[in-house]
Symmetry: C2
Subunit: 190 residues, 2 copies
């Protein structure tokens, strides 16, 4: 996806050894035109699953905007896993623990059992794929629900970390719109 | 906004004394068709500010989807206040403390100074307005940045709590798409 790569080349910041900051256009300030292009591209990549995918699952917070704009192209609802239980979610939940390398701690995420079950065909969407912890947590929730995982759509994959390779070797269909293989002299290598 | 009121009447759950659960369509599972109707309505309500508003500010997590879909109708970027500092936001931030009655604790939110300044004309968007804590926190950040607040767009206002009345009496333009004046026999009174 050339437009996304251009955004990354022009606006992302790279902090050694492995931090890629895309907070100017993806996960703090959000370029909604870019989100539309991302949504169209996911729709194209998963065109064989159109009509089958009936729910997009993501995780708060950075995944939500991407998922909502993408969902317009699939005409399906979004469901987002919540961090930390509160009285508005209730006790009837699937939950799993996810380790965040960015925040250097584990956190629990929750999805209400009311909104995910064996009848669902799920596309997981997230902004980043690095070690794969967040995606594996969401897959775990899909499995707890007895739902079918149709695929995983990622905006930026850190190809130099092992999450994507492990998921694919486990048979998960992962479509990443930009794969950064490495960082050299502060610039991304696609 | 009749379609939203219908969604609330048919799908929301009311837990005495004051909890209104809209997690079936707004802040856990998200009806993206509804978000589009909401975005169009905000665009209509703030039509006099079109071309002036250049940024939509919201707060993670529930505000993000609404803000992103709404932003498509304003052709502006979204900026969302983050809860808890992490290494991807950096130290150069505006911050404020917000008390959450839902979670019964205060939390800090952050916005990078790189993305909000005196040149900005801001529309604040959020899912709920009850006591007004979140909106006041976001207004505080707009003020720290020296930006201009053009208005506040809220999906569901709890009219029986005092946040909306106080903001309006302070001269803030608040547009709420549904105002629930009270709950009687487990049903909303608009």
């Amino acid at each position: 996806m050339e437009y996304l790569k251009k955004c990354i080349e022009e606006n992302a910041t790279f902090i050694p050894p492995d931090v890629i900051k895309v907070d100017m256009f993806l996960n703090h300030m959000i370029d909604v035109d870019l989100l539309n292009k991302i949504g169209k591209e996911f729709c194209s990549r998963f065109s064989d699953k159109q009509g089958k995918i009936n729910k997009i699952l993501t995780i708060e917070a950075s995944g939500i905007g991407i998922a909502c704009v993408t969902a317009q192209y699939f005409s399906v609802p979004v469901l987002f896993a919540k961090k930390g239980q509160n009285k508005n979610v209730g006790a009837n939940t699937y939950s799993t623990s996810i380790f965040s390398f960015t925040k250097n701690k584990s956190f629990e995420v929750f999805v209400s059992k009311d909104y995910l079950g064996p009848e669902d065909h799920v596309l997981i969407i997230d902004d980043f794929l690095a070690n794969g912890e967040a995606v594996r947590g969401l897959i775990n929730i899909v499995e707890q629900a007895g739902a079918t995982l149709e695929g995983v759509g990622i905006v930026v994959e850190k190809g130099f970390q092992n999450g994507g390779a492990q998921l694919r070797s486990d048979g998960v269909r992962v479509e990443s719109l930009a794969i950064i293989k490495g960082i050299e002299n502060g610039r991304p290598i696609f």
